[in-house]
Structures are given as structure tokens and as C-alpha cells.
Symmetry: D2
Subunit: 417 residues, 4 copies
């Protein structure tokens, strides 16, 4: 695949799409946890739109930085995955009504959604959600954790049997999980996660089960949600030993992206940020989930920590609020107030309002990460993959939170390949 | 002077101040054009405050990046310069009332201001301002340009005769100049500016006259205003030949700083900025000057160009307005609206409001540049000095406008010294 | 028609729609100047949507204030009018893509648009636009003004011959006109406008021609654009004598509405507003027209004057900018900065950002005004109609600009009927 | 006192000040609970500044509405009151450093503060604060409630013995109280509060004790804090019987003022507000107190309720957050996001940022209320005084929350006097 001079050439993906018709094109499985959610639905439709010639706006892997790298062609991605409830037709029409997916696209993709639905597997719900999930997923709740992992691995093997589908990645896109302590042994980098599953089903994060299944099948695992999936020491240690790269945590799509792009300016200009207060409003399923303080815990901590890592002021005051505002649907509006001190202690301020579609911001990053993950695997990377730090609120393998330095890390890795 | 671990150690300047009492301390001349203006007044008082222990917030040269570099001690800076009108006592009390300078500091520095006033020289006004300037400056207006430069050189030599004052820098801080075409010959890098002064006095920018005087006296020249001073090919070419570094143009203090810190994020995330509209309001002398469209021309062009350099969209729509709002005094409020396209063409927006004191933002950068200029001269740098690009809207010697890459350039230069 | 308890009963219009099927329902002509523009297109579709049960959000005449008044049923409105160019199908699909009109509605209304198109008459363009208009409208440009008015009157009589269409109103919705001085005699309240048409065609505002035609045919005239149509003394004087009410000028839909709703709070709290700067961005045909400073003149003056009328500070600084930002399409984003002084001269600020669809804000007000105009005519009102001041930036017959007092005026008039 | 044409005549108060020198001027006691707090300190200094000629910006009673009413002259106000801790000199210098009080004024008023301090009485603390209060106030904590009221009445009688001090008002300005249920009997309008004090000291709100003392001494009581002081049925009933007017609750100074000034515009234009989210940041003692959720309860409820009273949408989503951001000191920054639906369900938004000094906004309203309270008493008003609703978040005697209608109520009362 020729990436050269791709930037500014919106037809590049369209041209690649022609090759789909060529004999024996390789396919890549994109196995999504939360497959009927807004992000997954946007990915499914977005890949289809790009096959039809829509320019790949939002894909980092379609900028000049990747011009000389051979990446998997998104036109050959095949989506499948798991979910515990929902209806992808309804998700799509909700996103069209909200202005995220074009109406025409949603109409044209009805058959694609039918095929996608048929291919999905039941998910592994959290026990607290038992009453909210579909019967097949409820069935999986009765299994002990080791059997859950077996079922997920079975699903993956089924999907990978499709002709010419030789590889893929697993992406965890479920809503923010309830915060749970790591079960015993999971903090040991020498342990094998498959030996750590003899625990009560309600004590273990689902992200660990999906991650274990992915790695056991040799597939890179991308933990895009606020969940421990890829960061447990046992998981990343094992991934490193068996040669599978893992990515995470918690996709950096909106307000936190802005924080990590702006805070370096204050640091570099020696302006003393005294307070940085961030107010997030969103109205989608993810927003509803975060009204549960136990679920919000990890996400708020991730959003909050980045500033303390970048800015030197030990007395920096930060606040993060996430409020569920149903009328916003998929639109996340963040209002931040930054109060800082300049020369001679003069008080100044910066205030910003970010108004973005959560799913339209996240979906292309997931496609990027899937492409990078397969490239990383080709290059022999294994375990926690630090060069993708720019994509995450709480990156694995590095404490660097400055977005621009993270991009420089990614650039170095690409050049060094 | 020990810069190690300076960052986070606000007492470092205070400690250095003790050494002022030591025998035979070297002094550094800070020769300011526009010496009774708000920025110069803030510099004068800020240096005094730092001598008394105020932490050096806002000084880039007091961050960790400069920890292992030997820089001139601000405690040993001695301010002087030129102005065509005004009263530094009034400037100081205006800045105190506006909340830029602390009241106590202004009261304590009355004697310092008296000494400063006594030392000032009349400036070289623009002919259009003849009726607004003091009699001594009006006198200088009658001279032909070559004699103006002689007078300025004479002033510099006077100031440099002060005991132990062996060196200094000239900083152009006057209000935005009226836009004038370069006089003949000034675009020739081989020419000697001193040979190009046989022109009508109303056809030549004052910044060229001050620059010629500075370089002729071997002093680095920092063009902090929107003016051609340091960028005329004849000036930078001559400076290179005679071994003097020159810096400019147009200090990057507020809204433009933010633009160049934020635009890279959109570029790197492949988000397509469609429109970026910037509205600037300010109420000081600089703001009043910019109500003259001929003066505003250069400044607006500088503020506007940065985005087109960073962002790839050839159809990017940008707007820059600068409005004089007297009630704001020294406070510059900028409101920017960024309209961008994400995945599948979804429209999103970022809006920000920046509320900062123009003078408190500019003053520490001038001190930084003076220190860097002397370091550069020590290291043998000459002509247009590109590594200081991060300080300017329209940097010399480079087209790089990405603030983070500019900071990386500066860092490389420091390490490479 | 029963308006009681309408507020909070979104089905009321739907119920009225049933009566359309009843024998012999009266019809009301809504004769729109600029019939293919965004506002007219939104009105056309909005009336259809309300017939199908969409709640009448945005209609002032559907609030409790009008509960006991007999108003024309919008379900019986029949749209027609004039335009000089354009295509209503394209206007509708543009508004759908921009998120103003629902996609389904635009699809369902194709036949309605076809009928509407067939019924339209060519408009009377401004001479400057000769090359931009359709051939039939260009033809009308060749007529002397008196013949233009005859042609427009002929169109009105044609439309009114439709069975059971006994009355109607004319609404001027064209883009902001180029500013022209009033031709001789038009400032005389005793004159008859039909006697004042012997002028060169390029010297007279089109809004005067449409207004003269409307009044000559006994139809109320609503001047919703920034144009002199209803305010020329000859026009309102004549309207008064012949018993026709006229309404205007310049619909108050967004930023100016907010200004007149907020400024009274500052006045009533005795907070001294020093500066009020308003920045408007919009991307539709109206926005493009306003890039012509001659067209923008009146609109900017109207937007600016309201504050000086409400706020007592004689040194109040105000600014109004209107910028054409194409990517915004029909969305008008206004950012205002209010700088005010409180107790002991303390400086404080209010800043707001308004993001609204120009057409979705204007369309229901036009329907309101049409209903109120017919009610006023029934009640014997004639000439400049002051009680509708709340709908206009530059209201006729009153200097009151306080939105809340304007609403109280309207309320009094309704009760007094 | 001549109020005519006062508006726009900033010297009016200064002129009145001359009369202070006249023989036998009457004095008015302003007895403040929380006398060393930021609001009280601002009142103390503000009255002094107005005596010296500072224009009465922010005083509603100095607008044209009161032109023909005889009000107490602020130049004759004499401040005294209670507090449980603090130091008025420190409060003043804090307010100067923060930009609320002018430096000169604070310097000039040192002797005034000394006299004020000498006159203050110990306050009645909440038991939870025992360790934070001064010894004299701690002493009062040991008294049973009935004795506390006796002590407060004794203080009032002392202050009123000053020559020519014949009357006064009591204003409750303490920080938001901890929420406590009303003790038995206080909900009975027929009861006498002095008979309801046989309760455990930790079960009764301090605002009830101060209120009982004020009314028992025949002084109007203004409950400016979020506390039950004036709204308990026993209190207002008794006040009515004994001929004393009472005012409250919870001064409407900033974000809530804006809400009640803006929401009527949405209602009147039939725009359907779906969500209104308000984020408040402040850094003063009041802000610190509100980090205690038990204290914040009442305030948040008051700020939230106003919208539901004005806007008709039964599914309106509202949110109110109050965050303590120490770097803001006395400056309250509120960021509100209003999401609303227009014609055909189009989603639009209004966002605002209010940046105001809490004390500079509150202080003039307290002076206004004191003047109005004495006027009301002169006119024979007694019990809950509804015409002052515009000053309060949770007004007594009316459910009207529309600021403009509240102002109309006040206007009517003034005219009717």
C-alpha cells in the first residue's frame, strides 16, 4: 500500500478500495467489545464510507508522518465483536439523528448492519447489569471466569476462520467499568493470566477476560476504555513473553487531548497554572454509565492526573466533573477554566469550550490503533506499547503526558522501524 | 551564575541579587525603544522586584531547559533607552491601577524611575506624530536619517560609558509602526545599511534606524514590535558579516502563542480546521495605535499567517480582528472560534477566551531575549537568529510556526552550545 | 380556533389541521419576498411539519399570552412569493444537510416544493445584481419603478384569486439591501407612495416597491430585513390613512435579542457597562451579502443602536462585527464581551456565545407576525404598529428596546383588544 | 433627601455627605452578622468611599426608579455587628490585593476600621465551629438559646444608645449555614419565636436567633444568606403581628441573577430549554464553607429552583455545581451552558461566563435593602416583604422568579407608596 503523499489526497483510500475486488485480498478482523455501541457503530459505518471514497479525516495514520510505512488497508478491515445488549440499527439511526453519521450512509448500510448483527457474539456482562442484558449474554454470566475466556477465544477462532482472514485485533470499547481491585496474582508480571481465573466472577474486570482471550489467541489487545485490561502486570508481562503488543488505557479524544496539548505551553513559558477546572457534559450511554460514581472513578482520575504530570506547580488545583446531560446525546461539551499567574504574580485566565462528537472523535483513533498494532506486531513489539501514548489518557509504559512529546515518540518509532 | 535546578527554586534570582553587592559586578545595558511604554515600565519594575526576591514567573530562561547554561544575571541589567513622549511615573501608576504592577512595588520604585527618566534620550518619531511628541524628539525629526542614526549611536556610547557596563542589547518596543515599503537597496543582503540612509525621512521605518545604530555599535538588536527592523535583508546580512545576532519579529505573547500551540494538535490528529476566527480586544497605547489601519496591517498579517503555515487545508478560512476597547487598558482579551471537521465530515468546534495582561506577558520575554542574545553573541552567532523563533509571530530565519517544534529548536541550540 | 391552554399542548396545531379537511376552510396567503431563501424555505417546510403534528416550538403566538385570542390557523397558511434566483429544492437540501430541516421532512415535501415553485413570480432585483438573477427577474429590471409596482400588484391579485384565499400578508425577507438615501418625497407622511415612483430605478430601495404594492392591495406589510420598506414616512403615513398596518424593521432573532434581554439587567442593577463588543459569524447567503459594507451598514447600525437606547452610560463603547464564515452555513455564532463596572469601580465581565440557526430562529417569528398582522388588521390598526416591537431590531413607532418591556407592550395590546 | 434625576449624577451622594456636617443629623445602624467577612468589609469601605464622593455604582436605590422616594442617606449609615472570628484589617487588605477595594481607600480607612472593630460584639457560632472561633464567641456557645437571644438584644440596645442613632436594620451575612430541620413549633405562624427557644443549642439555626433578636427590638431583619432566618412561619408571622418587615432569602448577586434575567427570554420566545448546567467557582471564605455538602445543600437548591419556576418544560434538566477554587479569592466565575430547542426541534445553545467580585456585587444590594427596609417600615409594611423579590434567590412571599417581573413588582410598590 502506497502511503506516500497521502495527506491532502482524499482519494487514496478510495483507490485502495478497488483492490478489494482483486483476487485473494487479505482481510483484517476488528473484534470490538461493545460492538453495538456508538463508537463501534461509527467505525462500522466509517469504514464503509471510506471504501466509497469519503476522505479519511481524523485518521492519524493518514497524515504525512506515516507516508513511508506499510499499514493495513482499512478497506480490508472486517468488523465483528461482542455486546451484551442493544441494536446496531437503532444505534445507527440515533447517530444519524444526532448529526454524527450522514443520513445517506446509514440508509445505504442497512445490509451491512444486518450481516454485522448476524456475526456478533454475546458478551460477558458485569453481574450488576444482569437484568439489562440479552438472554445469551445473561447465559455467559453463569460461567466461571475461565469458561468465559474459553467462550471468547472460541468466538475469536470462529471469526478468524473466515476465508483469507488471517489476523486481527481486539479492541475494548465497552462503557467505563465499575472500579474493582485487581484479583490476587494479577500484579505479578511473571504470572500467566490463564492461571489466575479461579476467582468469583463478580470480582474480576471484564477487560481482563477479553484481554486474556485476545492474547491467548495471539491478537493485539487495545484497551480503549477506562479499565485495567492492558495494564495489569500479569497481562502485559505475559503479552511480552508471548510476543503480543498491548495498548491502552482510556482513549484521549477530547478535553484531555486539549489539556495535554495546552499545558505544555504554560510549562514552556514558565506561566504558573494555579487552577485548572474542567467541566464535561455528555449525553450518551457512556455518559449515563458515568453517573455511577464507582464507574466514574477511574475516568476522572485519568482525566485529572495528566495535568499534574505536565505542570510543575506542586500546589496546582485541579477539578474534573463529568455530568450526564441527556439532550446532548453523543455530543460532549467541555468547558475548562485555567487560572494562571504570570510575571510579578499577575493573574490571567484561559477558558475554552470544546464541542465534539464523542464517537466521531474516537472511531478514527481505533482504526489508527488497529493499524499500528498490526504494524507493531510485524515489527516484533510485545507487551505494553509506549509509542502509542498520544492516543491514551493513561498510557502504558511511559509517564509522558505532553501530547507533542508523545507525538515525537510515535514519530521516532515509525522512523526507527 | 549557577542555573542548575533553577526551576522550582524561586529564590534563585534573589540569591543572585546578593552578588550585586560584591565588588566589580559586570552590568548589562537593556536599551529600550519606547522606554516609557507599558512593556518597558513593566520590565523596569520587574527587574527591581526580582532583585528583591520576587520569583521569576514568566521567564523562559528560568526553566529547567536552561539549567546548565551561563546567562547574564537579570539582577545586573541596567535599563535605559529612548521615547518620544510620555512619563514613566504615570505609566507605572496606570499599570498599578490596572492590576499589572503591585502597588507596593510602584511606590518603592519612585527613585528608580527618577534615575531612569534622567538617563533617557529623546526618540526618533514618525513624521505623522510630530504634534504628539516632546520638543527634544521633535528636534530629532528635523535631522536627515543618517544623522538620526548618528544621534542614536551617540546615545548608546554614552550609556555604555557607565562604569563596568561593557555590553548590552537594543530592544525595539515602540507601538506597531505604520506600514511603509522598504527604501531602495534594503532588500540587498550585501548592502551596508549605513550607505542606505540617503532617503527622505518620512520613507524609512524607525526600526531600521534603531537597528542600524545597534549593529553599528556591535549590540544585538531585538525587534519585538511589528516592524521591519531586523528582517530587511540588508540589515540581517550586514549583522551576519559584522558578527551581531538579530532577533524578531513581533513578540508572540498571547492569542498568537495559543494559536501556534493549539494548531499542531489539529494537524497531528488530522482534524480538518475549516475556519479559525480570532477577535482581539485591547485598551492600551498599542491598541489605540492599531485603530490606524496602516499600522494594523503588519500585525494582522503576522497574526493571520501562522495558521496557514501550520495547517494543511488550502481552503482554510481565517480572520483576525483587533479592536481598541479602552476600558480594558492593558488587558488583552482574545476570543477565538475554531470550526473543524472530524471523521466523516462531522462539524465540531473549539472556542477559547484568553484574558491576559499584554505587558506582563511581554516583559519577561524581553528579558529572556536579552539574555539569549548575549549568550548567542558569546557563542559567535550572527545575523538572523532562528532558534528564538518561539518568541515571535514572524520569526527570522525559519518558517516553522509550530510552538512546540520551535521550543525543540531552542532546546537543541542550547544543548549544542 | 381555540387557543386556550395551548402552551404545553403541542398537539394543538395538529388538531387544527383536521379542520383543513372541513368544508370551505379559509386560506391565508403568506407572500414572501426572497421566497427561495433559507428563511422562506424553513417557513414552507415548518408549516407542513406543523400540519403533520410537529409541536410549534419557537412560535410566540403559541404561548399562554395568546391563549384567549383568535388567530389565523397556520395550517391554513398558503405560501407564495417572489425571488430573483435560486432553487427551493436545493435550499431545502442545504438546510437538511446543515441540520436545520429534518431529512424526512425534506424528502416528504418534494411535491409541496414543486407546487410552490410553480406558483412563484419573478422578483425585482437590485440593478447591481443584474448578472446574478434569472432571466424573468432581469426582465423586470428593465421596467420603470411604477411599472415594477404594477407587476407586483398583479402577482398579488393572481395569488389572491385562488379559491377561498381571501386575504394575506406580504413579508420582506430578502438579504440586507444596499444602503440608499430615500428618494425625494418619501420622508413626507402626507405623500402617496404611488406618486413617488417617478425616479431612476437604481435609486429606490426594493423594499419600498414591495411595500407600496402590498399596501395598495390592502395587505399588511412586514419588513423583516434591514431595509427602509416600512419606515419611510410616506409609506407608514399612507398605510395609516388606508387602514393597513405595517411592521418592521429587521427581525430580532439572535445576538440582538440577547442584548436587549440582558442589557436591562445591567441597567436595573445600576451596573455601569463600559464596553459591549459583539462578534457575529455566519455562513449563509445573508452572511455573504453582508461582506459588502454598503449592505452591512444598516444592519450593523441596528444591532449597535439598541444598547445605547437601553443603557444610560453616555460613554458606552460598543462594537459590532459581522463576518462571513462559510463553513458555518446557516449557523450564526455570536461571541459578545461585556465589560462593566460595579461597586467602587470594580471591573467585571460577562461573555456569551450564542450558537443558533438563523433560519430556525427567524421562521417562526415570521409566522407569528403574519398572524398578529391579520389580527391587527381585524382590530382596525393601521400604519406603523408599535406593539410588535419585540420582534424587531429597529422597531417602528417606539424607541423602546428593552425586550421585556416590549413584551409587556405586546401583552397589553393583546389584552386590550 | 432629593433623589430626583439622581441617575447619571454621581455627585449626588457626595453632596448629601455635606449634610453630615449639619447639626443633629440622624444616624442609621447597619447591624451586620458576619461583620468581619468580605461583604461587610466592602460595605464598611464602600459607605466611606461614597461619603468621599465615589459614585454609587451598583446601588439600585440610586437609579431613576427611586427618584421621587425619600430614602435614608447612606452617608448617615453607621456599621456595627457581630462576628465569631477574623480581623477586619486583614479582610480589607485581602480585598485590596484581590482588586475589589481600591488600595488608597483601604489605607485611608485604617482609623475607621479601628473604631469599627472596637464596636463589634462576639457572635453566636455554630457548635461545629467551636474550635475555630474567638474566646468571647466561644463563651456565647455555652448559653442556652434563649440567653443567646438576650445577649444579641443587649448588643443591639447598646449600639442604639449612640447619640441620634434612633433606628437600624439587622442583616444576616454569615457564610451559608449547615442545613438543619426547623425545631418544633417554628412552622406555626401563630407562635411567638421567643417561646420556641427551649431547644438544644445545636438544633437551631443561628439565623433564627439573630432574627428573633432583631424583631424583638423592632428592627427589620434581612436574611441575605442561604439560611431559614426570615422564612420560618413563626418568624414572619410574628414580624407581621408586631409590625416589622423581614426580607430574604439568599441574595441574588451573580449567576442566579443572570439565570432569572435570561430564562424569561427563552420562555417568551417559546424556545424549549432542554438543559441548563451551571458551574460556579469561587475562592473566598464562603466558597470554602460550601465544600461542606451540608452547607451547600440550601444554596444549590436555591440556585437550581429558579429555572424550574420560570421555564415551562417539565423535563428540563438542570445542574448546579459550586466548586471552591482558592486562587480566585473573592472572584466568582460561573460558566453556564444552555441547550435549547427551536423551530422544528433544531438544537441550539447559549453559553456564558460571568466573572464578578462576590463582595462588590453583594455590598450595594445590602445597602439598598437596608434603605428599602426602613422605607417599608415607615410605610407600615410588616412580615414577609415580597416586593424585594428581585434581590433574592429564594424570595419571601412570592413564587415569582422572573427578574424583570420582580423589578416591575418593586416599581409598583414604590409608586404605590
Amino acid at each position: 500500500m502506497d502511503n506516500a503523499a497521502r495527506h491532502g489526497d482524499p482519494s487514496s483510500v478510495a483507490r485502495q478500495a478497488d483492490s478489494v475486488l482483486s483476487p485473494d485480498p487479505e482481510k483484517f478482523g476488528l473484534f470490538l467489545v461493545g460492538a453495538r455501541g456508538a463508537i463501534a457503530t461509527t467505525i462500522l459505518h466509517g469504514l464503509e464510507a471510506m471504501r466509497a471514497g469519503t476522505p479519511p479525516i481524523g485518521l492519524v495514520t493518514e497524515t504525512g508522518m506515516f507516508a513511508n510505512v506499510r499499514l493495513a488497508d482499512p478497506a480490508r478491515f472486517r468488523c465483528s465483536g461482542w455486546d451484551v445488549a442493544g441494536d446496531v440499527h437503532r444505534a445507527a439511526s440515533d447517530l444519524a439523528r444526532t448529526g454524527v453519521l450522514p443520513h445517506d450512509l446509514v440508509e445505504l448500510a442497512a445490509a451491512l448492519r444486518d450481516r454485522f448483527e448476524m456475526d456478533l457474539a454475546p458478551g460477558v456482562p458485569e453481574p450488576e447489569d444482569e437484568d439489562l442484558v440479552d438472554p445469551q449474554s445473561a447465559e455467559r454470566l453463569k460461567l466461571p471466569p475461565a469458561r468465559m475466556v474459553d467462550a471468547l477465544r472460541h468466538d475469536l477462532r470462529e471469526w478468524l476462520q473466515e476465508p483469507r482472514m488471517r489476523r486481527g485485533v481486539v479492541v475494548y470499547l465497552a462503557s467505563a467499568e465499575r472500579s474493582r481491585p485487581l484479583p490476587p496474582g494479577w500484579d505479578n508480571p511473571e504470572a500467566n493470566p490463564l492461571d489466575l481465573l479461579e476467582v468469583a466472577p463478580e470480582t474480576i474486570s471484564r477487560s481482563l477476560l477479553y484481554g486474556a482471550a485476545a492474547i491467548a489467541e495471539g491478537l493485539p489487545y487495545i484497551n480503549f476504555t477506562s479499565a485495567p485490561g492492558a495494564s495489569a502486570a500479569a497481562m502485559s508481562g505475559w503479552a511480552k513473553r508471548v510476543g503480543v503488543p498491548v495498548f491502552g488505557n482510556d482513549g484521549k479524544t477530547g478535553e484531555t487531548l486539549l489539556k495535554t496539548a495546552l499545558a505544555p505551553m504554560f510549562r514552556d513559558r514558565h506561566l504558573n497554572v494555579m487552577s485548572w477546572e474542567g467541566y464535561n457534559m455528555l449525553g450518551n450511554r457512556d455518559g449515563a454509565a458515568l453517573t455511577d460514581p464507582i464507574r466514574a472513578l477511574g475516568k476522572v482520575a485519568n482525566k485529572d492526573a495528566v495535568l499534574h504530570e505536565i505542570l510543575p506547580n506542586p500546589r496546582l488545583h485541579t477539578g474534573v466533573r463529568i455530568d450526564f446531560v441527556p439532550s446532548l446525546h453523543d455530543w460532549k461539551t467541555a468547558m475548562d477554566y485555567v487560572h494562571f499567574e504570570g510575571f510579578l504574580g499577575t493573574h490571567m485566565s484561559l477558558q475554552f469550550t470544546w464541542h465534539g462528537s464523542d464517537s466521531a472523535l474516537a472511531a478514527p483513533l481505533v482504526i489508527d490503533l488497529a493499524r499500528i498494532a498490526m504494524l507493531a506486531q510485524d515489527r516484533g513489539e510485545a507487551g505494553a506499547f509506549a509509542p502509542a501514548a498520544a492516543f491514551f489518557k493513561n498510557p502504558l509504559g511511559t509517564r509522558e503526558q505532553d501530547f507533542h512529546r508523545q507525538m515525537a515518540m510515535l514519530h521516532s518509532w515509525i522512523l526507527g522501524g
